[in-house]
């Protein structure tokens, strides 16, 4: 009985992880403009060569085309394998997702929604309220957003100027970790996204082309 109680305690303790502490700057300015901002500043079409690392060490590569507007939060996106056939195409406007084309292996029910959420996490400033601003114990400049669905998003800037985004679940588990590298011409040339899920995956996104929309 004691052993069972101990196992239950350990289970719950391990399931509920703690978010890193943010020491607030003084005076706190809880405005997004004071936060690290690796996100898009204007509507842009981006082409990425994406290396996909899946569980079991399996590697593949696709080309991703994304048109993203940070003002309206509208997204158009497409995925092509090396041979350039469009296997997946979707548009999200006014929070309505319209999947125009979805072929295997991109035709599962959750794929489109998860992909669009990943794109928003990479390119758009989080929605929701800024809960904390300041510095992590390790020295990174940090802003913490609380989203509507009890998730938490930390946007970080390291001492070396690199930006990172971490998405935590309500229990404090890191669900997504994004690292932005090599800023040139206003766009990050390399973006790495690590997804912690039942089937975890990592995307290495190398920028081929970025084309801001003409005003």
């Amino acid at each position: 009985m004691k052993l069972a109680s101990l196992i239950i305690c350990v289970f719950f303790l391990s399931a509920c992880q703690t978010l890193p502490v943010i020491t607030q700057a003084t005076p706190p300015e809880k405005t997004a403009s004071a936060c690290p901002n690796p996100f898009l500043k204007q509507k842009t079409t981006l082409i990425h060569a994406i290396e996909v690392h899946m569980a079991g060490g399996i590697k593949s590569a696709v080309i991703g085309v994304t048109e993203a507007d940070p003002t309206t939060r509208e997204i158009s996106c497409a995925i092509m394998p090396a041979e350039r056939m469009v296997l997946f195409e979707a548009i999200e406007t006014n929070r309505t997702l319209d999947v125009r084309r979805a072929m295997s292996p991109f035709d599962s029910a959750h794929f489109a929604r998860n992909m669009l959420e990943d794109i928003k996490l990479i390119f758009f400033e989080p929605l929701g309220n800024i809960e904390k601003m300041g510095f992590l114990p390790s020295g990174e400049e940090a802003c913490r957003w609380r989203t509507g669905n009890s998730d938490t998003i930390d946007v970080l800037k390291t001492g070396s100027g690199l930006s990172e985004v971490k998405l935590y679940s309500g229990s404090g588990k890191v669900k997504r970790y994004i690292k932005f590298n090599d800023l040139a011409g206003g766009f990050y040339q390399n973006i790495e996204l690590r997804a912690q899920e039942i089937a975890s995956y990592t995307l290495f996104m190398n920028l081929v082309e970025a084309r801001p929309a003409e005003n």
Binding site: A49, K59, S60, P81, E83, R84, L87, E89, R101, S104
Partner: protein
Amino acid sequence: MRWPKVSFLFIICGMFLSAFVPGAYAADADFEALRKNAAQIKTIQADFIQTKSMKILAKPLISEGRFYYAAPDSFRWEYLKPLKSIVINHKGLTKRYIYSGGKMVEDESGGAQAMKIILSEINSWMSGNFDQNPSFQATLKEATYTQITLTPAGQNMNGMLQKVIITVSKKDAAVKSVNIIESETSATIIDFKNTQTNKSIPESMFQDIE
């Protein structure tokens, strides 16, 4: 991760090989002549420029690469830029390689194996059997260039392609371009140049990726 059963690459290769026929073809200009003359091709090598147009792309995505074929069923389709990748098929074994960590590594996502499923269709195209493949309805039109239009007829192409138009030069019978129309908003044009036929290609080209 599984790739579609019908690979874009195989469609491209099939179109190219089946349409590349000697000069006699232009005069005869029928499908029987295509079948007859396709049998004369032992090797092909060519550079290609692939132009991908999509509604969300203000400017098309341009890719460049090189293509090699040796009868009866060996080929190498190599993209050089912007994203390096290679598919080779030799003695019944199909492999896809991607550029990762500064070197070419095998794509083990299942894509290459899935491609094997449609090899039977490719062999059909290689033999010039445009009008005998139940997956496509073929029409031939003579104008400044010879145009072969393939329209999907079977269920397995449904939703993937609207049509494929192959343009062949009347002068030298070389394939000039392959236009693959996927939908109203997406199309791919492959322009071939520096095409050479029946020139020796080392077997290693279909075995080694470097």
